[in-house]
């Protein structure tokens, strides 16, 4: 490679990376700094190495943290249970309608996020036939679905389903069918073939899908806001209200920082456990 080309990659990278550094990394630094301030709105917030902010918000809002991860976890699991068979069906049985079906599945998510969520208010209202039926078979708490954990989890599952479907489908669809054929030629039953061939080979898709679903879901506040009421507030709601309603910036910043760190921790553990490098893919070999 000629000498002039050596600077070319850096030139190409520079503007985009600069944008990311200035508007993603640096703000996190500011958020950290804000979280260490103390004071009040009327007197001003002053930097004070106030690490007690962290212990304060953890003790005040531990319930909301826990709740967020539980809701997100359940929603991710449900999404996986729905998305896997769905993707499998589309890929293996879709035939020439595969792309159409895939689109039908993803198209609903072109409506605005808020409107989709609010539509569930209409569907899950206490008086609706669906809810009354569920109440009659005892599946509701206090005879309702709205303003309970169930509706928030249902909302999360629904809204993040595409994030689960797309990576799963990509993974399943690029599976080499001949491997399954080979397994069957070796007298494996459908079940064995699935468990020993398909599932392991689509593991990267499962890992990607669950991460792409769990992470945004745990920080979400729209579903809890519209479907759950304040009794089901997730940590996202608390962060939002502390920033935008009570203007309690240090607490809000501390909460956001803790959320980020916990998620990072969970992701690291998960990836270590799942052992997948498919996520970050290294292109050095692609050259």
């Amino acid at each position: 490679m000629s000498g002039g080309r050596r600077t070319l990659p850096y030139l190409l990278l520079f503007p985009g990376l600069l944008w990311l550094v200035v508007f993603f990394v640096i703000p996190l630094v500011y958020m950290g700094e804000l979280s260490l301030r103390t004071g009040s709105l009327t007197e001003g917030f002053f930097f004070n190495w106030q690490f007690s902010n962290y212990s304060d918000v953890l003790s005040d809002y531990s319930q909301q943290f826990l709740r967020s991860f539980i809701y997100a976890g359940v929603a991710t699991l449900l999404a996986l249970l729905i998305a896997y068979p769905l993707s499998y069906a589309i890929s293996f049985r879709g035939g020439k309608y595969r792309n159409l079906l895939l689109f039908l599945v993803v198209a609903p998510f072109f409506t605005t996020y808020l409107i989709r969520t609010i539509a569930w208010q209409t569907i899950l209202t206490d008086q609706s036939p669906l809810v009354e039926f569920l109440a009659s078979i005892g599946l509701t708490s206090n005879g309702r679905i709205l303003d309970t954990p169930a509706s928030v989890i249902a909302g999360l599952t629904y809204n993040f389903l595409p994030f689960m479907i797309l990576p799963l489908y990509t993974s399943i669809d690029t599976l080499d069918r001949r491997l399954i054929e080979a397994a069957k030629d070796l007298y494996a039953s459908s079940k064995t073939a699935f468990l020993k061939v398909t599932l392991p080979l689509t593991a990267p898709g499962i890992v990607a899908g669950t991460l792409l679903t769990f992470i945004p879901a745990s920080g979400d506040y729209v579903n809890a806001y519209f479907l759950g009421g304040r009794n089901q507030a997730m940590i996202g709601n608390v962060i939002q209200s502390n920033y935008l309603v009570t203007s309690n910036y240090p607490a809000a910043a501390a909460l956001a920082f803790i959320l980020m760190l916990i998620i990072l921790l969970l992701v690291v553990i998960y990836i270590r456990f799942a052992g997948s490098e498919a996520l970050m893919g290294d292109e050095a070999s692609a050259n």
């Binding site: 985009g16 990311l20 609903p108 001949r178």
Partner: protein
């Protein structure tokens, strides 16, 4: 587990045959139900766009009317928020497409120091909850007393779109056939010409796909916009405000229009693909005697996904 038996798949047992038949049907039925489940809210939204509520709220069916369709843009605040969203999305898409493509090219084509940190930096925003990204940006803007508005929204939107563009274009670049570029150079083209006349047109679908993704993300963004918009109102922010006092039926109308637009776009893409497939299939008349059923399956497995 079942021992490997010659009777595995062609099982003589009627029970096994029946359960396999049911199992066969189960999957498509499940898929069908799942698809139905995903479409329910959309149907509700569309149906209620024809409702004629007497008061502020659009929760109960009152009567059928098309007046909200004929007058879809009759609410000034709604329309102006939509315009703001479109403008924002357009500008953000262009900027993030350019920046993102440049990064993708550098990542795939060149060697440089700091590949791992760069990858990391690209992926991390995708793995951070929006609430954290929005809060971070707001923290910085507050510390600098920077006025919140269209500019801060634009900054935020470009920021979260770049990563998506990079991922999409990168995957397109990886599957790219370098021999075409080599051929161009063999025929005397300069690197710049090669890029402009060969590479760029061939990765254009990837760039377009990335841009469409960025556009859709920008139009739909609520959380990050909520934190950084100050008093500027985008379409999702309008809906959020309106949800406090009753969402006008026109919002349902516009949401339905958005879906129809997406459906139309997909129809066009599918139709293009169908035509492209047809043209690629131009070949001498197939001899039905020679056609082997396995041929079509091999064709499906190796087909390039666009």
């Amino acid at each position: 587990m079942e021992a490997a038996s010659i009777h595995n798949e062609g099982g003589a047992s009627p029970f096994k045959r029946a359960s396999r038949a049911i199992g066969d049907k189960l999957l498509p039925i499940f898929a069908g139900l799942a698809i139905l489940y995903m479409l329910i809210p959309i149907v509700v939204i569309a149906v209620f766009s024809f409702n004629d509520p007497q008061g502020r709220y659009n929760f109960e069916w009152v009567g059928f009317t098309t007046e909200h369709w004929t007058n879809a843009f009759g609410i000034p605040e709604l329309t102006s928020s939509l315009v703001t969203s479109l403008q924002l999305a357009a500008v953000a898409t262009v900027i993030s497409a350019v920046l993102g493509t440049m990064i993708a090219i550098a990542l795939v084509r060149y060697e440089f120091y700091g590949r791992k940190p760069t990858n990391f930096l690209i992926v991390i925003p995708l793995a951070t909850p929006e609430v954290v990204i929005g809060a971070g940006l707001l923290s910085m803007f507050i510390s600098f007393s920077f006025p919140l508005g269209f500019v801060t929204l634009l900054i935020a939107h470009v920021m979260f779109c770049i990563s998506f563009v990079v991922v999409v274009v990168r995957s397109r670049l990886i599957g790219f056939d370098r021999s075409l570029e080599e051929a161009a150079r063999d025929l005397g083209a300069t690197p710049a010409q090669t890029f402009r006349l060969v590479t760029l047109p061939l990765i254009a679908p990837g760039i377009i796909a990335g841009s469409l993704l960025a556009f859709a993300l920008s139009i739909d963004d609520f959380v990050i916009s909520n934190f950084n918009s100050g008093t500027t109102v985008t379409f999702p922010l309008y809906i959020f405000g309106a949800s406090q006092r009753g969402i006008p039926v026109e919002v349902n109308v516009i949401a339905t229009i958005l879906i129809l637009v997406a459906l139309a776009a997909m129809a066009i893409v599918l139709w293009q693909q169908y035509r492209a497939d047809k043209m690629a299939k131009v070949e001498p008349e197939p001899d039905p005697m020679l056609e082997h059923p396995r041929e079509s399956r091999k064709h499906a497995v190796t087909k390039q996904t666009p």
